[in-house]
Amino acid sequence: MAGCITTSNLSAFFGDVRAIEGVNIEIPANKITALIGPSGCGKSTFLRCLNRMHELVPGARSTGEVVWDGKDIYAPDMDATEVRRGIGMVFQKPNPFPLMSIADNVSAGLRLAGMTRNKAFISETVERSLKMAALWDEVKNKLDKPGGSLSGGQQQRLCIARALAVEPDIILMDEPCSALDPASTQKIEDTMEQLKQKYTIVIVTHNMQQAGRVSDFTGFMLTQETGEPGRLVEYGPTSKIFTMPDRKETENYITGRFG
């Protein structure tokens, strides 16, 4: 099944500063994997290493391996744009193109990737993507309205639709609900549950209850001492992590005994 990612001894740096160290993880296809941990533990940095977005920060680099369905995404012959098409990303703050129409927002990635075979293909893709992002019914009669006219929760689902339009295998979500109200959060969570039939989802969240609700697997990251890099402390089935974690640090964090 397409859409699994394995990292081996993955470390990431900002200049001389090591942000994460030695992360080994196998993220299974068609599952939702959540990454939790205190602020600054390197969750987002780790996520951005999974589709080569980390290297876009000046001075940033990574070492170790990230293998996506058998391909090393950092191999010299690997095209970063191709990686980012296959491994899409949704960010904390909804970032649609505000003046561009809803339909054009969804198809923006297609046009950037040169996938503009014909009009019918584009409108089919727009509809399919919006349906998968559970936004179609709310916007089908106003596809020409600007993306910025939608509510925050709708804008986030628009961004999900935009990520889906280029037919990725994997969707990375960095705090996708932290700027949203509970009702919009619930819609996104329901959407994720639908999406995992077809895609692999990796979500970084500060909200442990959300990780407990939506994910199949949970990884806990932690910076042991100030100034040290973040490490993956524990990784396992979510029901196990939230009832009987193996590591004391995990238990202390999720039960609120530190953090």
């Binding site: 009987m244 999720i254 039960t255």
Partner: protein
């Protein structure tokens, strides 16, 4: 992000379970004493004391619900809330069984030839008290090993129960009169209640084991739904 009021709530819950447990120990102790001595006053005090046990059980249930509703407990906190509810249910049942024994103590008249039976009931009671104390100790100390040993401590009780029933169902010549009396029914019931008390403690031990290890009956709790054939059909 430490959650002080939540953890205080959990500590209080733990404290009240132990308080309930000590009331239940007392109830079982006094009810079996009343059974063996025929002390009606003692029996009445057990019956009256059950209200306190029931009140505590309701408080514990409410506290478990409130903390789950408001605090989204996970890991060992979640296991404690789950187990607290079940342990208090076991303790409440044991309290009820002590009341049943106390009621029998009030009705059971002394009779000729009762001595061997009373001797067995005395031994059963002492062993049941031992199981109960160890069961509560296992919970208090979060001792899974002790919790799993309760079944073993319970074994002699089952043996004595079988012996009493056997003697009443198949009495020797000398026992015939005793076995056919109303008194025999009281003895059979009393021994059954004592046996049930110990069984409740053994089941409680399974919960304590889960609290410590996260496993139900030796397996990770998140097990697949069993494929059960209808064994009772056809």
């Amino acid at each position: 992000m430490t959650r002080q009021s939540f953890h205080e709530g959990l500590n209080q819950l733990n404290h009240e379970i132990l308080r309930m447990a000590s009331l239940v120990v007392e109830a079982v102790d006094l009810s079996t004493q009343a059974l063996l001595t025929g002390d009606r006053k003692l029996a009445n005090s057990v019956i009256a004391g059950d209200d306190d046990i029931n009140e505590l059980s309701l408080w514990i249930e409410g506290q478990c619900l409130a903390l789950q509703a408001r605090q989204q407990p996970v890991a060992k906190d979640l296991r404690l809330l789950h187990v607290a509810l079940l342990v208090s249910l076991h303790l409440e049942r044991i309290g009820d069984l002590a009341v049943n024994i106390a009621k029998i103590a009030k009705r059971m008249e002394r009779t000729e030839g009762a001595e061997p039976y009373l001797e067995l009931l005395k031994k059963m009671s002492a062993q049941a008290m031992e199981v109960l104390r160890q069961g509560i100790k296992a919970f208090a100390d979060r001792d899974a090993e002790l919790a799993n040993r309760l079944e073993e401590i319970d074994e002699p009780i089952d043996e004595m129960f079988k012996e009493i029933l056997g003697r009443l169902l198949h009495p020797s010549e000398a026992d015939k009169e005793v076995a056919s009396s109303e008194w025999a029914t009281h003895v059979a019931l009393a021994s059954r209640y004592i046996e049930r008390i110990a069984d409740q403690v053994v089941d409680m031990g399974g919960r304590v084991s889960f609290l410590v290890t996260g496993e139900l009956d030796g397996k990770y709790f998140d097990r697949p739904l069993p494929d059960i054939n209808n064994q009772f059909g056809e």
